[in-house]
Structure formats: structure tokens, C-alpha cells
Amino acid sequence: MSALWLVPLVPLLAAIVIATLSGRVSSPSGAGFLATGAALVSSAMAAAVALQGTAGSVLRATLTTVSLAGHPLTLGLQADSLSATLALLVAAISATILAYSVWYMRDEPSPARFFAVMSLFGAAMLTLVLADNYILLYVAWEIVGVCSYLLIGHHWRERTALSAALKALLVTRIGDVGLLLGIACLFAAAGTVSYQPLLTSVSNGMIHGPLVAAGAWLIIAGALGKSAQAPLHVWLPDAMAGPTPVSALIHSATMVAAGMYLVARSYPLFVAAPAALNAWFIVTALTACGAAVAAAAQRDVKRVLAYSTMSQLGEMGMAIGAGAPAAGMVHLVAHATFKALLFLSAGIATKASGTNELTELHDVPRIASAGFLVGALSLSGIPPFAGFWSKTAMTAGTSQFAGVVFLALAPVSAFYIARPFFIAFRRPIRQDDSEALTRVVPVLVLAAATASVGFAPALFIPAWSAPPTSLTAVDVRTWLDVAGALIGWAVAFGLYERRAPLLIAAANRVTFVGTWARSGFGVDAFANAVAALVRTFSAVTSRLDVAAFDRMIATAARAGSRRLSGTPAFDRAIGMEVLAGSRRLSRFDVDVFDRAARRTASFTLSMAGLIGRADDQLLDQNIERGAVGIGGVGARVGALQTGRVYHYLFAVFAWIAVVTLSVVVAVRVWR
């Protein structure tokens, strides 16, 4: 089925063409249009594949077969409903965002490199979702990580971008190595890495044992890293240093969702390892809640969206962990549409104002304001937008406990997205100069998508799970969630729009939230213990001031925490203490996790230096001392050499005499 290969191949070709001809492409827009065109072609092919796929069949295309120790490894692509849907999503959103980038990258450096790497990313991401085996997935997984590194560090002259890129690649690599080990375990257990035979054998119970369980746990590690869930989440807020289209495409809609896709795809594996699944649920739930509270305290609009992504991914993870992977995937699709929309709108606003700070965003164009509003409504789960349908699916398909968590998250999510809307996007200006079409159209497309995508549930029915979305799934819990979201909107409205004194006074009473966040989570004590342990090791080993690495991450973390601490003017003016709690929580996140990561890094560097010096002093110098000693002995023995022939000859003759005498004596004695 060669058409399947064209889906990732076309963006790859575009990337190669842009990279090699970048000098000759007439303008940066040329590269941009080429990339967008390729993505559009890819989407068309993906749509064709998707339409064929939903009929229940699975399309396949095989690349190569490698025989490894008697186990044939067949690497290829497959398009079942899940893969086809995600492929279409990735391709379409890529096309939209690339079109937007043509406008955004007008006055940014190195646009050709940007579009080449974005196209490469698109190709890799499509391969990731279309792969039919774990090895091809892993290859694509790593390439996607490298593209993310290159794109976050696009403004490589800025220290923050560089350190953010390094942090992102390093933290996700920790997860990636876990994933690699997990794939190795699965291959060792089952003799194959292709999804279908492997997962079928696991479901049948033909393959079981510690290797399978280990595989499940290690896959979780990989997913945690890529999807920025605790404890491997520290890279995502800093990754916002990349250009906004990068944040939109990679760090909200697609790459970070790869972790969720992996877990959903491997779901039969987790059915066989329920302990791992429960742990997954707990971790993602905690991340969802913590990130939601943190998002409510951010000053930087992109960081709000970053923490929001973390929280939404946590919700996806919860859905998968609570037994409804299909619902999680539905939310993945919906989230991609509204999160990309939010980022693109925010990008228009930040370009116009030249800053990311919420309080300093003014002159926001109408299109950005409208886009942000639609995205925010969708995120909050207000009908009839896509978020409402996906939230319905998630609450319907999961357990009671998960439903309660979703319910608790609803007002918080609504609040954290309504807050920036009311602070910055509420009063747009009219811009009547003909703004670039490429700025407006993508936003409109995405708004339409997020508005309508809920009405096409047929596309989201993966063949291997019961359909979760339909009007009959809407029940009391759904309406409770909507009510919670409306409450969140109302609170935000009251606090930021109307400055209602009653609400402010009530907010000031709720300072105990801050205290609770600080101590009651329990993670606090544990995290402090871990940090103290690492600190002790650092103190014991000598401090080696190596590298910008330590300084870079410290700079980035300082820059990050600086944004959170202090009392800017509007806080003092409005006098809200309720934010202190959530601010403390996000500072806690930066302090504990980030500092732990920084300390781990500096500890590792110190250990490296220590080991290096130990190597030199213990081993190398001692050996050299031994060699010098031998040399000394040699010198002393060498003094016997006088250089005079007759001395040597005397020695020879003396020796002969001694030997002869001993022989004679020995013969005599023996006789």
C-alpha cells in the first residue's frame, strides 16, 4: 500500500529540499510555502487513508525485514482507526501551523532552517503514529526529540533558549532510555516487536512474566518523559523559549501527546500489568492537579499554556489509566485543536506587544482575542465545542474516582484559562491594515475545527474499543463538569473583570489553600528529603565548577522563578492573596523539582570531576610513580656500566670461572 508511505515521505522530502536548497529558495516564505504545501499533501493522503480505515480494515505497508537471532523483525506502517485519525490530525495541524509560521517567521532569523526542521519533525511524527512496531516507533520518537531540541534552540544566541533545549533533550532522554530498555525487555520476552503479534500474545497470556511487567513499567518511564508528567516534567515550561509555532505544534499538540499515544497503543500490556497501570493513573492524576493549580499562577501567557498542556495530558493519562484509552485519544484530538488555537492566538498577541507577560499584552488584534476565546471555551469543556465532547467521553468511560477528579479539575481548568483571557484578551483593538492572510486563516481553521470536531464522532472510533462518544453518553456527570467550568469562568470574571470586592475578600480568606498546597501534599516532605540527600552528596564531593551546563540551567531556573516571585504592580493593586497559594505551588515545583534536577546535574558533574581526578591521582599517578621507581632501579643498575670494555670482559671471565668451578665442585660432590 504505497500511498501509506507517502504520508510521512512527502514532508521528509520537503525537509531535504529546503535544507539543501536553502540558499537558493528565493525568500523565506518560499521555504514556508513548500513546507506548508508538503504538509497539505500529507494531510490529503492521510485523510484518504483515514476514510478507508474507518471501514474497519487495517492498511499495511512493509519497509524491511531484518532477521535478528532467528527472530524476523518486520518494520512497516499500519493504519488502523487510531493511527489514521492521529496521522490526519498531525498532518492537518502541521499544515495549519506551518501556514501560520509563514507570517510569524517573517522577521525571525534563519527561517529556512526552521521550516526544514519542522518538516522533518512532521515526517517523524507521522512515522511515529503510523508505525506498526516498537522499534520504528522508537526511531521516530528519538528523531522527534532531536527536532524538538533543534527548534527550542532556534534562537541559539540566547542563553535561555540553549539551556531550555538541552534540558528538554536531557530530561526526555532519561525517559527515552527507559523506553529503550522496555522495548528490549519486550523483545526478549516475545521475540517480536510488532504491535499485533506482541500485544495479542500478551492478552492471551501466552507471554507473561517479569520481563513483560518490566516492559510495562519502562514504557511508562518513556511516556512520562515525552509527555512531561511528574517527575520528568521540568522541561516543558522552559521549552516555551522556542518560537510560538514550535510550542504550538510540538509542545502541545503532537510530540508531547506521543507519550499518551504510546500508553494507549500498549494498553493490552498494561491490562496484564495492573500495578503499572495504577501507578500511571496516580502519577498523571497528580500531575494534572498540580499543573492546573500552577497554571493559575503564571505571569507568562506561554507558561500558562505550558502548564495547561501538562494538566490536560495528565487528564488524558488518567482516562487511559482508568480504563478508557479510547476516551483519552479522543481528548488528544480535541486538545490538539484547542491548544494549537490558543498558542496561535497568543502568538499573534505576543508579536504585537513584543512580550509574553500577561499584564503587558495590549493592542491585541481581534482575531487573536476571538481565537483565544474559542480555544478557552473548548478547553473548559463548554458545549458545543470539542472539549465538551472529549470530557464527556472521559467521564463516561472511567470510574467514579476518576470522575471526581475530573470534576474537581473542571473549575480549576476553567479558571486558569479564563484568567489570561480576562487579563489580556478581553479588549481587542481593531486592526484595519490588511494583515497577513496567513495569520488569520489558520486561526479561523482551528477555531472551526475545535468547534466542529465534536460533531464527527465517527472519526474517533478506534476499531479496538467501544465507541465512547455519542449523545447518549451525556449524563449528570457531564453537566456537573460544565457547571464547574462555568463556576471557574465566573470566578475569573469576578476577580479580573469586575474586581468584585466580595470575591477579593473571600479570596483573601482562602490563604489556607496556599498552606495546604505547601505541606499537605505529602510530596513536599519526600521531595525535601530527596533534595537534602542530593545536597549532602554535593557537599561531600568537591565542587567542580564545570560548564555552562550548571550555570545555564541555574540561569534558566532563576529566570523562571523570578517570574513567579515578587509582587508586581497589579497584584498589589488588586491585593489578591489567593494567588499566593498557587504561586507557592508553582514556585515549589520550580524549587523542588527543578532544583533537584539542577542539583542532580551538578552532583553528576561533581562526581564526574571527582572520578576524573581519582582516575588521575589514584591510578595514573601511582602507576607513574611505580614507573619512576623502576626507572630509579634501572639507573642504579645502569651505574654498573662503566663503558670500559675490560671491565665487561673481566665480568665475563669471572662469571665463567665461577660457573666452571661450581660445575667441577658439583660433579665432585655428586660423584
Binding site: 534552540g153 532510555v177 529503550l180 530498555l181 553528576t604 564526574a608 582516575d615
Partner: protein
């Protein structure tokens, strides 16, 4: 044909010695022609091996009275390494140090070294193996000692003494096995059979110790590694490339072919020790590399990290959980050796080019090359990513197989090795950022990008690595046949 393959470089070197000194260009041409011909022969033999699947052998009488024959063999285990040697042997001739009047001697030394290493990989007779082992060693001593950098005398001496000491242990082990063989013979198959028959008692353990010391110095393994950083730092670029790319593989090849082949029971008995040593090497090499300021020293320590995987694979070949795991371990070890040769050879070439332009190897004094020399920056980035095991490149193929072989029975070793991979990612990224980003220095503003010759050199190596990474099936099938024969499957 195998004899031609082995001795052509030496013959060319001898010819060069006899020619008058003045014609520098023609001397180099002869050397390059010989190396290229050797490479072509190796490639043709490889193709033949891939198609027919039977090993190529050559045998003649040498010293029959003690049972030493002139026996060469080209099979799945030695073929990739032979091809790697001929390739690197050809490429380094394009990046030789400035030699002025001594070009003849320099070319002769490099060609003799190539012959020695080829002989090591091809020998099927252990006395022949040992002779070639020593032959490969001596030219490098002179190359480092004469054409190296500031501390070259000490580094060359250290290198020589360390390897010599190990070689003596190796000789003792070979002789011990020789005296156990009935009838007395140095033939590899006969000695292997005798070794297997001796079980895992004290005798086998002592033989294993001799092999461990001899091959361990070359690999290198951690307590015996102190010669490596100094030798690499002080050697000229071409010398470092041959040292890292080819000579280290002698230790790995010996471990797989001879240690695994001859004393598997003893190896299995002490497997835990060797696995610990291998894992320590992986983590230690990466950890110390991260603390280096000298870029060349950093790459030298990463060699310890990569070769740790080779030792891990060699050990898993006797102690893997299933037969498939053991085969994968041998596959992984051989492919990792080839990959390391390509990638680290390329890294040393790049560091050499960097030093020529920037006048320093100190990471603290580099910076800002991303904007100035995009081709160099791109290639360096590619090699760095490849070196920490990114898929699409060859490093992933070897490491993945070793991991699969390890998880079933030695999961903690696999976990520790994975930790080493994480550290190596950090160290390469740091080196990249130091070199390419950061604030540009005065010299980096005037640095020139790679010339055509330089692009060709690193491009060939990168292309080879990508080929193995993307289409490993061909190489795996060749190696696996050799692995099965070795493991008796």
C-alpha cells in the same frame, strides 16, 4: 587472496622505503593506491562472503615442528573489522601530520600498522595472531613519539609499556593452551577445542586471566585504561583515528573470538566480575569524559564507554539466558565495534580539524561556530548524536542488541548501562554547546568551514554509519553467521 590483502600495505611500505626521498607526492600516491586496493579487495571478499556464506580460508605450513601454521580466515566475525581497518587505513592517509623530510618513514609506519592489524583480525593460528599483535603495536609507538604533540615521548612510552605488559600475559595464556593441545598445535580450532575440554577449573581460570589482562589493556577496561587518554591526546590526528578506530578493536575481537571461544566455562564462572567491569567502564568512561576540558581527552574517555558495551556483549555471549540472547550479544559486540570505529574515528578527525582552526582543544576557549561554519557544525552535531546511540545511526544497532541480550538475566547491568547512556548524552550535548554555541571567540570569527577533502573524509564515515543504522540487515546477517559458528549453534 587473503595474503595479498594482509601484506599489500606492508609491501607498499617497503617499496616506499626504497624509493628516493624527494618525490613526496608520488610516495603518497603509492601509499594511497595500496590502501585503496586493499580496501577494494576487502570489499569484494565481503560481498563474496555475503553471497555464499562460507568463510574464506588460506593455509600453508610455517613452522611444522612446533605446530604453527600460516592460517588466515575471513568469516562473519572478522570481515566487518577487516573492512573497517582497510577503510580507516585509507582515509587517514589523507590527513597525515606534517612530516617534511620523513614522509617515507611515516607512510611506512602507517602501512605496516595496517598490515599488523589486518593480520590480527585474519589470523587463525595463535602464534601468527600474536606475532601480528606485536607488529601492530610498534609503528604506533613511533608515530606517537615522533609526530605527536607536546607530551608525546611520555605518552608513547606509557602506551608501549602498558600494551607490552598485557601482551606478555596474553602470550602466557596462549602458550598454556598450546601445551594442553594434543597434538601440539597453535591452530585456533585445535586450541579452542582443548580450551573447552579443560572445563572451568584453575587452569582455565588462569588462562582467562591472561586473556583478560592482554585484551583488557587494549579494549581498554577500567583499571588498565590509563594509557588511553594520554596516548590519544598526544597522538597526531591520523594516529588517534587508527588507535581508536582500529587498534582498540583488537582487544574486543580477541575477547569475542578467543576468550569466548577457548574458555567459555571459566568465562561463565566469572561472568559477574566481567559484567561488573564492563558496566563500570560504561558509566566511568562517560562520567569522566563529562569532566574533561580537552575535547580530545573527552572523546578518548568516551571510547572507554563504547568499548564497555563490547565487553558486555562478549560476556553475555557466554552467559545470556537463551541461545538467541547469546547470538544477539555477539552481534551487538561486533557491530558496536564497527560503529565505534566509524563514529570515534570521525570525531577525532573533526576535533583535529577544530584544533587546526581554533588553535586549541580546550572547551572553555571554543564557541560560536554554529553561525560561522555551518557544515562543520552540522557534521559535528550528527556525530555527537550518533555517538550517544541515536537511532538512524549505527550505534543504536549494536547497543540495542546488547540491551536485549542483557535484560533477561542481568537486568541491573542493563539498567546501569542505560544510566551510562544518559550520562553520555549529557556529556556530548555539553561539548556541542560549548563548541558551537556560546559566545564566539576572536578565532572562531575567522574560522573557515570544511574543505572538500575534509567533507569527503567525514562524509564517508557518516554515510557508513547511517547505512548501518538504517539498513542493518546485510551486516547483521553476515555477522550472525559468524556468531553462530563461534557459539556452536
Amino acid at each position: 587472496m587473503l595474503t595479498v590483502l594482509t601484506f599489500l600495505p606492508f609491501a607498499a611500505g617497503g617499496l616506499i622505503l626504497l624509493l628516493p626521498r624527494r618525490r613526496d607526492a608520488s610516495l603518497r600516491f603509492i601509499a594511497i593506491l595500496a590502501a585503496a586496493t586493499t580496501f577494494v579487495i576487502g570489499a569484494l571478499l565481503m560481498v563474496q562472503l555475503a553471497q555464499t556464506g562460507t568463510a574464506v580460508r588460506q593455509q600453508a605450513a610455517w613452522i611444522p615442528s612446533i605446530g604453527a601454521s600460516y592460517a588466515l580466515g575471513f568469516d562473519g566475525l572478522s570481515a566487518p573489522l577487516v573492512l573497517l581497518t582497510t577503510l580507516l587505513g585509507l582515509l587517514v592517509l589523507f590527513d597525515l601530520p606534517a612530516s617534511g623530510e620523513d614522509t617515507k618513514e611515516l607512510l611506512f609506519l602507517f602501512l605496516t600498522m595496517e598490515t599488523g592489524v589486518l593480520g590480527v583480525f585474519l589470523a587463525s593460528d595463535l602464534l601468527l595472531f600474536y606475532v601480528f599483535w606485536e607488529v601492530a603495536l610498534v609503528p604506533l609507538y613511533f608515530i606517537i613519539g615522533i609526530w605527536g604533540h607536546e607530551g608525546r615521548r611520555e605518552a608513547a612510552l606509557k602506551f608501549f609499556l602498558y600494551t607490552r605488559a598485557g601482551s606478555l600475559a596474553l602470550l602466557l595464556a596462549i602458550l598454556a593452551l598450546y601445551f594442553r593441545t594434543e597434538p601440539r598445535s597453535f591452530d585456533l580450532d585445535a586450541i579452542t577445542a582443548a580450551g573447552r575440554a579443560s572445563g572451568s577449573g584453575t587452569f582455565a581460570a588462569l588462562v582467562l586471566l591472561g586473556f583478560a589482562l592482554g585484551f583488557g589493556v587494549k579494549l581498554p577496561i577500567v583499571p588498565l585504561h590509563s594509557w588511553l587518554p594520554d596516548a590519544h591526546v598526544e597522538a597526531p590526528t591520523a594516529g588517534s583515528v587508527m588507535l581508536a578506530g582500529v587498534l582498540l578493536k583488537m582487544g574486543g575481537y580477541g575477547s569475542v573470538r578467543i576468550a569466548v571461544g577457548a574458555v567459555p566455562a571459566a568465562f561463565q564462572r566469572f561472568a559477574g566480575v566481567f559484567i561488573a567491569i564492563a558496566v563500570i567502564g560504561i558509566v566511568y568512561g562517560a562520567a569522566v569524559a563529562m569532566a574533561q576540558r580537552d575535547f580530545k581527552r573527552l572523546v578518548a574517555y568516551t571510547s572507554i564507554n563504547h568499548m564497555g558495551f563490547v565487553l558486555l556483549g562478549a560476556t553475555l555471549a557466554v552467559t545470556g539466558a537463551t541461545a538467541a540472547d547469546r547470538t544477539l550479544a555477539v552481534n551487538g559486540a561486533i557491530i558496536q565495534m564497527v560503529s565505534h570505529g566509524l563514529l570515534t574515528g570521525g570525531m577525532f578527525l573533526l576535533v583535529g580539524m577544530l584544533q587546526e582552526r581554533m588553535g586549541t582543544r580546550d572547551l572553555m576557549e571554543l564557541g560560536g561556530l554554529w553561525g560561522r561554519t555551518p557544515v562543520f557544525a552540522g557534521v559535528l552535531t550528527a556525530f555527537a548524536f550518533a555517538s550517544f546511540g541515536l537511532p538512524v545511526f549505527s550505534g543504536f544497532v549494536g547497543e540495542f542488541q546488547v540491551f536485549v541480550a542483557a535484560v533477561a538475566r542481568w537486568p541491573w547491568a542493563a539498567a546501569a548501562a542505560a544510566f551510562g547512556v544518559i550520562i553520555s548524552t549529557a556529556l556530548y550535548l555539553r561539548a556541542l554547546q560549548q563548541t558551537l554555541f556560546n559566545t564566539p571567540t576572536a578565532r572562531s570569527l575567522t574560522a573557515t568551514d570544511l574543505s572538500v577533502r575534509e567533507r569527503g573524509l567525514v562524509g564517508v564515515l557518516l554515510a557508513a554509519s547511517v547505512f548501518i543504522g538504517v539498513a542493518p540487515g546485510l551486516l547483521i546477517s553476515i555477522v550472525e553467521r559468524g556468531a553462530r559458528t563461534l557459539l556452536g549453534q
